[in-house]
Amino acid sequence: MKSLFGFLCLVLLQACCPGGADKEVSLDVSFSGSLELPLFDRIVAENANRNIVLKTLSGGSGTYSDFKLPVNTNADSTRYFFFRPGQIDTVVIRYTRIFNHSNCGLLIDFKNESVSKNTLSASAFVSLGLSGGLPGNFRNSINFSN
C-alpha cells in the first residue's frame, strides 16, 4: 500500500510543471474610467510581423476597448510606436526573462517589468498586466508615466 502511494505521488510530481508561459505573452492594457485618448492610426511593436489591433468603442476618438500589447520573447524589452496624425509616441517596456526547463518543456516567465520610456501624454494613462498563458499570475500594474 505504501509503495502504491509512493508511486502515485511520483506520478503526480512528474505531472507538475513550474509557472510560466508556453507561448508568446502580451500585456493587457486596460483603461480605468473613461479616458480621453487621441485616435491612433495604428500601433506597431518593433520587430513585430503585423500591427497591433486597436478597437475604439464609440468609433470616434476618446474611448478604446481594452487591448493587448504583445511582448517580444526574443529580447529584454519591447518598443511600441503609437501613430497618430503628426505625431509618433513611443513606449518601451523592459523586463527580465526567465526560462524554465521542465518535464513540460520550455516555459518563459517575467519579472521586473517596467516602463523605461513613454512619450504618450500624461493623460493617456493606462495600467498593464501580463497575461497569456499565465493564468492566475497577474502582475503588478505598470503605469504609463513620464
Partner: protein
C-alpha cells in the same frame, strides 16, 4: 494515468489469455529465428515532422517449449516537433536488447510452428538529441533555444509475442510489450524524447508498445 492503467490491464490480460489458451506441441527440437521489426518506423513517422527510420534486427534461439535467448540491435534517426512541449528536435542513436524468452510452439488448424514467446529484455541505448526549445510567437518570431544532449538510456521490457507462419520458414510476429525506462535525460524535457528500442517516447517511465515483425525460422534438427 488512465491510459497507463488501460495499457497495464491489456498487457496483463493478454499475457494470461495467451498463456492459458494455447496447447503445447513438439517439445523435442530447438528453434532459431532471425527477424526485422517492421513497425517501429511506422510508429516513428506517425508523429514526426520529417520522415524518420528505425531499423531493428532480432535473433533468438532456444529449446521449443522451453527457455531461449534473445538478442536485438537497432539504429534510428527521427525528427520531431512536439507543439505541446515546445520542442523541435532530431534524435539518433543505436541500441541493443538482450534477454531470455520462454517459448510455446503450437499448431492452429493447418498452421504448424505457431509460437508464443514471453520474454524479459534489457535495453541499452546510446542516443543523441539535438534541436531547439521553442516559445512560439504570434506577433513576433518564435524564440528558439538550441540544445544538444547525449546519454546512455537504460530500460527493461516485458514482451509477449505471437508468431504465425506465412510462407515456409517465414513468420510474422505481433508483439505487445511493456517497457520501463530506468534512466532518462534528467534535466530538460525528458518526457519529450524518443525512447529508442522501446518504440515509445519517454512521457511515462512505464509504457506499452506494439510492434509487427517479420522472421525467418532457420531450419534446425
Amino acid at each position: 494515468m488512465k491510459l497507463f492503467f488501460v495499457r497495464a490491464v491489456i498487457i496483463i490480460f493478454a499475457t494470461c489469455w495467451l498463456k492459458c489458451g494455447l496447447a503445447q506441441t513438439d517439445t523435442s527440437s530447438r528453434y532459431a529465428l532471425v527477424g526485422i521489426d517492421l513497425s517501429k518506423t511506422l510508429y516513428a513517422n506517425t508523429f514526426m515532422k520529417a520522415p524518420g527510420w528505425v531499423l531493428e534486427i532480432q535473433g533468438r534461439t532456444g529449446r521449443k517449449n522451453g527457455p531461449g535467448l534473445f538478442l536485438g540491435a537497432g539504429a534510428y534517426q527521427v525528427s520531431k516537433y512536439l507543439e505541446v512541449r515546445n520542442i523541435d528536435y532530431s534524435s539518433e542513436g543505436q541500441y541493443v536488447k538482450f534477454g531470455i524468452e520462454y517459448s510455446e510452439f503450437f499448431s492452429i488448424a493447418s498452421l504448424s510452428n505457431c509460437a508464443y514467446l514471453f520474454g524479459v529484455f534489457a535495453n541499452v541505448a546510446n542516443t543523441t538529441n539535438s534541436g531547439f526549445f521553442v516559445i512560439p510567437g504570434d506577433y513576433f518570431q518564435d524564440y528558439r533555444q538550441a540544445f544538444r544532449n547525449e546519454y546512455v538510456q537504460l530500460g527493461v521490457q516485458i514482451s509477449n509475442q505471437l508468431l504465425f507462419p506465412i510462407h515456409k520458414h517465414f513468420q510474422v510476429g505481433v508483439q505487445l510489450a511493456g517497457g520501463y525506462l530506468i534512466n532518462h535525460e534528467k534535466e530538460r524535457a525528458r518526457s519529450s524524447y524518443y525512447a529508442p528500442g522501446l518504440g515509445v517516447t519517454g512521457r511515462y517511465r512505464l509504457a506499452s508498445s506494439t510492434s509487427v515483425s517479420l522472421h525467418y525460422l532457420i531450419p534446425t534438427k
